[in-house]
Symmetry: C2
DNA sequence: CATTGCAAAATTGTATACAATTCGTATACA
DNA sequence: TGTATACGAATTGTATACAATTTTGCAATG
């Protein structure tokens, strides 16, 4: 008899898993500001469990780059520096452009059609709720592209990267009114993919990632004088 | 006062760290065959510690893809499948070609000169010791290229990937007599980098990674009839 | 003979206690 | 005043005990 569980079993609902998810959410949404000091005992008290599950959660988040451990000081929410943002986008470009090219050669027409549906997302400017919803759907779109590459290892790495990059969008930066533009970009990308032009699709993806980075960079520069939680430890 | 420790502090010599390193080495060198079953208690006995440090080590190795956990069965050394090898090389190509291109634009002449020294490595065919030594130096060369990209995040991901791929070279496959050829490839790559031609260097790197993959693929196909620890769980 | 129920065994998850290490600070001393 | 040092506080690391969950073997039953 074959194990009835799906290939990648969903993690059991355990205390460690709970702390991991809650802490991750709180870090990504910047409820814990970059640079904030945490401690195993404090976290254990906060989340109502003991230090052991907290340790496990923190080690995972550390490996994902969201937490930084300083021995005998505690855990710290990894600071967001301009270089970290730049590095992340650079790595993302390297991986995601390849993912797009691979997806073009491997995805079925049906899958690309479905991807087109996922691309039809926007947000309304200065509407926070709509913006957060958009972020979630946008992540889903890019993860789907990654999945269509049919490369599990690539998917895992890109997934981790994209999730940790979500944090940048919660900085409260005024990126501007780009809902429609981004939707257009997404749909253009899918169009290139559906016409099975790997080169054009990859180039298109690279341009879009670059312009996304530029939007953040500009907003960051413009917000230079206000309170941005970019810490220098 | 600035913390006198280097930016990335070397991990303390702790029991968990010890188990992690030993287990990782044993997995990479295939002392633990792919598919082999391990268990927390067994490992704790083996390495002379308790289950807690073992758990931590296993979780890390799991995230790095070297271990697979099956609930209430134990940990298993991740099997090596043709698809896993293919996926890994694909991801490696995506990241390393970009690393090379970035290094070309960012490394100093001195750093590239030093890289040229690291490139001067060979192995003598059918000499296992020389081969293992070569593997280590070869990893060092590619890691140095990654470091010269000046992208910490890219470095971390590529580092993890390259280390886990070392396993493939311990399968006992007869890759053939390519010591001199690979040295030539390395030196050609460095030459392109020193002439600051990012495009040529990236293309060169991609070709070399592909040919490395082809060597493994051919050897794997040739060894199809003999005992290769490619497990299907 | 297949299926179900159940209890024992195995494994993982969690809490707690304690050991080990490091840091900060106060104090002694030159 | 500057420096060394010793001690206490804080933090992480480890072991052990126990609880929770799942698997497995076996027998009973249709």
């Amino acid at each position: 008899m074959i194990d009835p569980r799906p290939a990648s079993a969903p993690p059991r609902r355990t205390a460690a898993e709970g702390v991991y998810l809650a802490l991750k959410r709180d870090i990504i949404t910047l409820r814990h500001r970059p640079g904030a000091a945490l401690g195993e005992q404090t976290l254990a008290d906060t989340y109502g469990t003991s230090r052991v599950p907290v340790r496990e959660a923190c080690r995972r988040l550390q490996q994902e780059g969201l937490l930084t451990a300083i021995p005998y000081k505690g855990y710290f929410v990894s600071p967001i520096s301009p270089k970290e943002i730049s590095d992340s986008f650079e790595l993302r470009t390297a991986i995601e452009t390849r993912a797009v090219a691979l997806a073009v050669t491997r995805a079925t027409d049906g899958e690309l059609a479905r991807l087109g549906e996922l691309a039809a997302i926007e947000y309304t400017y200065s509407d926070w709720v709509s913006y957060v919803e958009f972020l979630d759907k946008n992540l889903g779109f890019h993860l789907e592209v990654a999945a269509l590459s049919r490369n599990d290892r690539l998917f895992a790495v890109l997934h981790n990267l994209l999730v940790s990059m979500q944090r940048y969008f919660f900085l409260g930066l005024d990126l501007g009114d780009f809902g429609a533009e981004m939707r257009g970009e997404h749909e253009l990308l899918v169009r290139h993919m559906r016409s099975r032009d790997a080169g054009a699709a990859a180039t298109c993806a690279e341009e879009q990632i670059t312009s996304s980075y530029e939007r953040i960079r500009r907003a960051l520069a413009a917000a230079d004088n206000i309170e941005i939680p970019i810490t220098e430890v």
